[in-house]
């Protein structure tokens, strides 16, 4: 079937499904009716959507970690710890990198060696290898709803197994789990594969089972201009809605400047709803997630706490529906459960402490929101144009043309022409806008901001600025100034 943003016919989906379930033995256990029956048995208060909706209504910000280890019992112990000692409102199951690339044999080797050495040899939970039974052991052991978090370009089998396994939310998307997470995956292919996942979620929705979906907002986590990540989130939302998804959390990775970050989250929610309405998708509920700083962390734990807390403040002041939490071990390795829980507790304190405050709707915030809105529109409208009205096709062409362009991405299907850098107040701007279809006014705005910084630093505009910015947070700054 040619790629287009059209809801997949059921029989086409079902025929694909036959193939997908064969790609690893555990696939054979998935029976959709049985799975829907199992999901129906999950109490409402253990479902992701319930928690998100409640939080949105009461303008609370929920707290969620990342976490995953190779073995089932250890994974349950880990999540229980984060639930109790971490006071997590939502739980994750982070999938290991082999599974993400469908390398299930390697994942098996990781499981075996982890058992043998008593050390975690995988960086996450290999859900496909553990199969439905393994997944259900995990999801049923906890009071708190659990989400699958991964980075899988082809997550078809993973979605089948984990949804049947009792997870009530599934992260990812055809762009956001391709460009930052793959080198050789054609955009066409990953959009297509994610239509599968979304269609599957749509089937659950049709059966009255509400499953949350979450495009991965931060992309490469490294100086991603808000307009780029917001455009991607909106596209993935439209693609998911078309396949029948009804509950979507759009995400954004903290850039570091308070005004820009709050503006980005606020306008992301607004603009997503606007595009949904424009394309006639009704009954889709949108919530937001802020990811605490996704770039390089300081190694010192006290300093890492500061980075974590700053992200938490921003989430609270922006009234994000949830915040994804880092740990004080971030710079060093996958955190122990204690370090993970400590990151959560610091975040919880910050979030609840700031629950009754939000950022002043002053001039600079409005200004920043309108800049991001305009940039994002430029990108989305050009994308739609390229796709002759079809956002799926448009996305493929937009990436070819560099109209959407993610900095520092590993994928060869990403142009890699834009170069971001911070302005004098730490907001992420474009040092080189590459082929992003920004209008002349916006380009002038970016140039002006970067030059202002260069002048303040008494140096020319150069790649060295970008490098300095990449290291900055880990060295205790936001803007990488020369010494």
């Amino acid at each position: 079937m040619e790629l287009s943003n059209k809801k997949w016919p059921l029989d086409f989906f079902m025929s694909q499904r036959q193939e997908v379930l064969k790609t690893w033995p555990t696939g054979a256990d998935v029976d959709l009716d049985e799975a829907i029956g199992y999901q129906k048995g999950i109490p409402l208060d253990r479902r992701f959507v319930t928690k998100l909706n409640e939080a949105q209504k009461s303008r609370k910000t929920l707290v969620q970690p990342r976490a995953g280890v190779p073995l089932i019992s250890e994974h349950i112990a880990l999540l229980s710890h984060l639930e109790k000692e971490g006071e997590a409102d939502l739980l994750p199951t982070t999938i290991d990198s082999y599974t993400r690339l469908n390398r299930y044999e390697d994942a098996q080797r990781g499981i075996d060696e982890s058992k043998a050495t008593g050390k975690a040899m995988l960086n996450g939970f290999p859900a496909v290898n553990h199969g439905i039974t393994g997944c259900r052991m995990v999801t049923s052991a906890l009071q708190t709803p659990v989400q699958v978090r991964h980075g899988t370009p082809d997550a078809r089998l993973l979605s089948e197994i984990t949804l049947a396994g009792g997870f009530t939310s599934f992260e990812g998307g055809g762009i956001s789990y391709n460009i930052p997470y793959a080198k050789n995956a054609p955009m066409k292919e990953t959009l297509y594969n994610w239509q599968y996942c979304d269609r599957l979620v749509g089937l659950y929705e049709d059966a009255g089972i509400s499953v949350n979906r979450e495009p991965f907002g931060p992309l490469t986590g490294t100086l991603v201009p808000p307009c780029v990540s917001n455009a991607v989130a909106i596209i993935e939302t439209l693609l998911a809605a078309e396949q029948g998804v009804r509950n979507i959390t759009v995400g954004y990775g903290q850039c570091g400047n308070l005004i820009q970050d709050v503006a980005a989250i606020r306008i992301l929610e607004k603009q997503t709803n606007e595009y949904l309405e424009r394309f006639g998708y009704k009954d889709v509920t949108i919530s937001t997630v802020l990811h605490q700083w996704m770039g390089g962390f300081p190694q010192d734990e006290a300093k890492a706490f500061a980075v974590i807390c700053w992200g938490s403040s921003v989430a609270a002041l922006a009234n994000a529906t949830k915040v994804i939490v880092k740990s004080p071990h971030e710079a060093l390795g996958v955190p122990t459960k204690e370090a993970n829980a400590a990151g959560l507790r610091a975040t919880k304190q910050m979030i609840t402490m700031l629950a009754d405050q939000s950022l002043d709707d002053g001039g600079r915030l409005e200004e920043e929101m309108s800049v991001i809105r305009e940039e994002t529109s430029c990108i989305l409208e050009r994308t739609l144009e390229l796709g002759e009205g079809d956002v799926a096709l448009g996305t493929v062409r937009a990436f070819e043309a560099g109209v959407i362009d993610v900095p520092f991405a590993p994928s060869r299907y990403n142009a890699g022409k834009i170069m971001p850098a911070r302005d004098n107040n730490g907001a992420v701007r474009l040092l080189d806008a590459g082929n992003l279809p920004l209008n002349e006014k916006l380009l002038r705005f970016h140039r002006g901001k970067i030059h202002q910084r260069a002048e303040a630093e008494n140096r020319g505009v150069s790649f060295q600025m970008v490098i300095d910015d990449i290291y900055a947070i880990s060295k205790g700054r936001l803007v990488g100034r020369p010494h």
Binding site: T220, G333, P410, I467
Partner: protein, 143 residues
Amino acid sequence: MARTLVLGVIGADVHAVGNQILNYAFQDAGFHVVNLGVMVSQEEFIEAAVESAADAIIVSSLYGHGELDCQGFREKCDEAGLKGILLYVGGNIVVGKQPFEEVEQRFLKMGFDRVFGPGTPPEAGIRALNEDLSGDRRCGRSC
């Protein structure tokens, strides 16, 4: 004459940022760099090293599977006729926060000449390369 390095991130690892910076820094320091980017297999490293007659292979691993991904690398180099080629590894090469000395020992035992911990600045790599490649012959693990 400029020394040649083969650079890449091993395994299923997609962490691209550090790789781009290392590429920039090593070139800036006067090396000739063959950068294979991310998701590089042992075979690809070795092939590139043979083709470019490289002086060293610089392996990055950030995502935690480094220990699985690097098993047998030195042996494969030997088999491919790259006996004694300088082999560095660096990044977040194991899962979790582990005492660096133990990690280092494990990777030295696997045949790496030098092992660099999380967040090592490129300058440390450059310093080491300049030391290890200072002779007028290739200077691998044997010296």
